[in-house]
């Protein structure tokens, strides 16, 4: 690990001011991904600003029935919060499907959003990687790409976003609250938060250098059954091959509201608006779910080892919708 200096920020304003004052500074919260990357010297910050004790840990009700998750709320506390469990069970399920209990006790909401891909070539510093070294090439294309993206990938990068939580947040239309160095706050819809790899896979989000995530805001969840379904190589403590987050409301034999998001398939948590359009206003049936799944994966491209993910994603989505649509 490269040497760095360390400070603990007193409050959020002090944290962003500290980040603006130093070159190559990084915030550290749970540290569960960042420290691993620093040990491998993939991340080499010169200065760490500890934000883990900032007073951003509360989960508060929002006017209108929403919920505001402080960026420093732990993944475990968030999953166990009674309001999350009853109003946003999709989020609770997604959080609990990720990592281990020890990691969830450390990992923060803001940090989870910013965790890096688990592409093995990104972590293998002897392999070319455009995300690690822009312009270096991509070892996953033409390499062992069983875990890689089938949607929205580019010739520069086929890595996937590893977060379960973000898939749920995407389906729930979450917004991310950011604090800039000037003290100005802004909100970004999670749908606009992540970037596709295109030719710049090292740029993953719209977060400006030195900006701090202070909260994730959930609007009131529409009525309907919420379900997170994750398929992986072992039963627990493993990243998704494919995951699906759905919300489905059926009224008088018609789909009134539907949300579909996919994980493990793209550089970002993937909202499948095409699938939602197929289902909205239609009578729920396996055929309709199949049509929605076909629409969601219509533009999917396999890279060889990961071809199976296209069919797996469709079947997982049909399965989740079928369960959510049961009377």
């Amino acid at each position: 690990m490269k040497a760095f200096t360390y400070e603990r920020a007193a409050d959020a304003r002090a944290a962003v001011a500290a980040a603006a004052a130093r070159a190559n500074a990084k915030f550290i919260a749970g540290g569960t991904n960042l420290l691993d990357l620093m040990r491998l010297e993939i991340e080499q910050p010169a200065h760490l600003i500890d934000i883990s004790r900032l007073p951003l840990q509360a989960i508060d009700d929002e006017p209108g029935g929403g919920l505001r998750l402080g960026a420093q709320a732990r993944n475990s506390d968030t999953a166990a919060d009674p309001r999350v469990r009853t109003r946003y069970p999709l989020l609770s399920q997604a959080l609990l499907a990720g990592a281990s209990a020890q990691l969830r006790n450390k990992a923060s909401i803001g940090g989870n959003l910013l965790q890096r891909t688990r592409c093995a070539y990104f972590y293998d510093t002897t392999a070319p990687c455009n995300k690690r070294t822009p312009g270096g090439g991509c070892a996953a294309i033409g390499g062992l790409n069983r875990n890689h993206a089938i949607l929205g990938a580019s010739d520069a990068c086929i890595a996937t976003n590893p977060s379960d939580m973000a898939v749920a947040l995407m389906a729930l239309d979450a917004e991310v609250e950011l604090l800039g160095a000037t003290g100005a706050s802004r909100r970004v819809a999670l749908r606009d938060f992540y970037l596709l790899p295109e030719t710049t896979p090292h740029i993953e989000t719209v977060v400006h250098p030195g900006e701090l995530i202070t909260a994730v805001v959930l609007p009131r969840a529409p009525a309907g059954r919420q379900l997170y379904r994750k398929v992986r190589d072992r039963a627990s403590y493993e990243f998704a091959l494919v995951s699906v987050g759905v919300l489905l409301a059926v009224e008088k034999g018609t789909v009134e509201e539907v949300r579909v998001a996919l994980g493990g398939v793209a550089h970002k948590p993937w909202r499948a608006l095409e699938a939602e359009a197929v289902l909205r206003g239609r009578a729920p049936s396996v055929a309709a779910y199949q049509a929605a799944a076909d629409a969601a994966l219509a533009r999917a491209v396999g890279r060889g080892h990961n071809d199976f993910k296209i069919e797996l994603a469709k079947r997982t989505l049909v399965d989740a919708l079928t369960k959510a649509g049961r009377p």
Partner: protein
Amino acid sequence: MPKSTPGVERAARPAAKPAAPTGAPTQKLELEVNRTSYALDVDVRTSLLDALREHLHLTGTKKGCDHGQCGACTVLIEGRRINACLTLAVMHEGDQITTIEGLGAPEALHPMQAAFLARDALQCGYCTPGQICSAVGMLVEVAAGWPSHATPDVGTRPVELTDGEIRERMSGNLCRCCAYPNILAAIRDVASGPNGGRSP
């Protein structure tokens, strides 16, 4: 006042401390481990795990993968289980840290330690301190009504601690000897004992 211990005095001498390259920033800090305060001066890169093992010589906490994948380094911070390898020592000043050495002693075992012995819940024993600390933290989470991936409906409270729940909740602790059946039995014994297995 922090108590000075032989381990810390040794750690304070350059020869016993992992040598920091010239100019690498260091920091003085106090760590509260097993209800004892220790004064340290560490390279800021030092993980909590290395601080415990190499500076305080509390070697009960094990280093397995050093990447947060095996759980051998599990300790309790304010009663919550975490991986000591994936956090910096400097981030834990003021926290109550409990390691396997603080849970019980040979003459006064923690109920979870006693259950692991009674059930022969180990072979080589390397993962055992992490398993035990994790299991102790896990039962606190269950008592607080936390759901898990194995909980059929996350809205349910309290949680029924089935074998499937224990397996899922302990998935962050790997055992290469595959002593899992007896680890499960040991935890089940403690959970069904007095006070749901929570420490008195």
